[in-house]
């Protein structure tokens, strides 16, 4: 009798369990919480990109989605593997910081073909038909502001004033957008003469070496504009070592904490404050809006870059206390 009951109860139990599982799956697929957002980042070796990744993931989670961070380690092949995994694993959106403006296009296209929206953050891909939207720092406008401050603060001499420019990676769009913004202002003042323009790959140590050699060739320069803050710190180190900290003004870009502190201490003149938090949050919000049916996103959404200078550093004193 007991055996008979067991045989009758077991199939009913299995049937009910099966129905619950199927019902549960159906319910969860219709729920917001079931959507998965991948955050694929060029590198997590740089604290700036860690902030970008963690803010994007946190914002996606706060909107009720699952979020997972993938580190491409500045390797396009690894980035490609991440995209394949993300597509196969059924992720619903990708918040993406590309490793290469050209090389990453194919990965974004793969996701697009799979019906997965991609929102680029901070770095762009050189295609307007690949990503759903690209949320990028307004590098050009930020450097227009720096260029204006550069013109205002550089010495005025009838014979002209010499300066140098240290570029970032020559293959990076941000490098040239920054340089073009700066020159759109400074080149209107022929008294300011650029005597050297060299790349230091956004790297502090390379900038130190490059500026050391520039100072040997042109010991009379009075200003150095650097395409990022790491290079500005390297340039300042070279200027200090040459005993010319009072004669040569150094300008950076990024809003890094050490440069904000250096502006506060009167060592560096100015920087352009980028906001990785704003870019990451906007990308996650765009993904949320996409899930809710929105499709008309701007292809490129600029994020304002604020000038932080000797003139307004008091407004940004809180940033010198960031961890």
């Amino acid at each position: 009798m007991n055996k008979l009951m067991r045989y009758k109860v077991l199939p009913v139990f299995l049937l009910l369990t099966g129905l619950l599982v199927v019902g549960g799956c159906r319910k969860s697929s219709g729920e917001k919480g079931a959507k998965k957002v991948a955050v694929i980042i060029s590198t997590l070796n740089n604290p700036w990109f860690v902030v970008l990744a963690e803010t994007a993931a946190a914002q996606a989670k706060s909107l009720g989605y699952e979020a997972k961070i993938f580190d491409s380690q500045n390797n396009t092949a690894l980035e490609s593997d991440h995209f394949e995994n993300v597509i196969v694993s059924g992720f619903d959106a990708i918040l993406f910081n590309p490793t290469d403006a050209d090389g990453s296009i194919v990965n974004v296209m793969k996701a697009k073909e799979a019906g997965i929206p991609v929102f680029c953050m901070d770095r762009e891909v050189n295609s307007v038909k690949a990503a759903t939207s690209q949320i990028l720092s307004d590098n050009y406008a930020g450097c227009v502001a720096i260029g204006k401050y550069f013109v205002q603060t550089m010495p005025k001499k009838a014979a002209g004033v010499k300066y140098a420019e240290i570029l970032g990676l020559v293959g990076d769009n941000n490098t040239w957008n920054r340089s073009k913004g700066f020159h759109s202002v400074v080149d209107l003042y022929p008294n300011l003469k650029m005597v050297a323009q060299q790349s230091a790959d956004f790297d502090r140590n390379k900038a130190l070496e490059v500026v050391e050699s520039i100072l040997q060739a042109y010991p009379d320069i009075e200003g150095i504009f650097c395409g990022n803050d790491a290079m500005a710190m390297g340039a300042y180190q070279a200027v200090m070592a040459a005993g010319k900290a009072k004669e040569i003004r150094v300008y950076g870009f990024d809003g890094a904490q050490d440069v904000i502190e250096s502006i506060s201490n009167g060592k560096i003149m100015a920087t352009g404050l980028q906001s990785p938090e704003t870019m990451a949050k906007t990308a996650a919000l765009y993904a949320d809006e996409f899930f809710k049916g929105k499709r008309d996103f701007p292809q490129k959404m600029p994020v304002a870059v604020e000038l932080v200078s000797q003139a307004n550093i008091k407004d940004y004193s809180a940033l010198t206390k960031r961890n």
Binding site: A141, G147, P298, M301, V303
Partner: protein, 204 residues
């Protein structure tokens, strides 16, 4: 033999026709010129925007004194109601109007004491940035795929201001003179300062 000759002759003629129609030569400067026609013309866009949108829209500019009061009373409400910007972030732009007396003429700006209000400066040297492009809110970001086109629009509008507004103003401005202006200003929503407002002039 004659038959073969005819056959080969027709074949050669056919190949010659195909080859002639397959390859053609154009001067490089003609090719470059035709490519340039598809390129975005920021100067033409800026000129049309200036004449058909910005100047006609300048009637909607808010009185600068009133804006300053609103910013002091409810900053967020004032930014929400009167500011525009194509970018996300703290930098916002306002289309403003004012009347006042010139109190100083400097190398880079003209100081104007607003009637019943504070002193502001009208930029006459450093006319840069996105204030004039963005303040009216008339340009839509979705109309542009390329941000460099937008940057160039700003640059061309500022060029128009330097040539058509600033140059005649600098030539005629005198201390003590009464002036009415319409212009664009940039304010930082997070770090707001209303005591050192710089106006990019659009009409004086």
């Amino acid at each position: 033999m004659n038959k073969n000759g005819l056959k080969y002759g027709v074949l050669v003629l056919l190949l010659a026709v195909v080859a002639y129609n397959s390859v053609y030569f154009r001067k490089l400067d003609e090719k470059k010129a035709s490519a340039a026609t598809t390129k975005f013309d920021a100067a033409a866009y800026a000129d049309a925007f200036w004449k058909t949108k910005l100047l006609p829209d300048s009637g909607k500019a808010i009185e600068l004194n009133m804006l300053i009061q609103e910013l002091k009373t409810d900053k967020d409400k004032a930014f929400e109601a009167h500011s525009h910007a194509l970018s996300i972030g703290n930098l916002r732009y306002f289309l403003v109007r004012g009347t006042g007396k010139i109190t100083a003429i400097g190398d880079h700006d003209v100081t104007v004491l607003l009637a019943n209000g504070p002193e502001v400066t009208i930029a006459t040297e450093y006319v840069f940035g996105n204030a004039a492009r963005d303040a009216s809110g008339q340009i839509r970001l979705t109309d542009f795929d390329n941000t460099m086109d937008l940057n160039n629009v700003s640059s061309e509008i500022n060029k128009i201001i330097r040539n058509r507004v600033v140059a005649p103003f600098k030539a005629s401005a005198k201390t003590g003179q009464e002036v009415s202006f319409i212009g664009a200003i940039e304010l930082n929503r997070e770090h707001l300062h209303t005591d050192a407002i710089e106006v990019i002039p659009i009409h004086i």
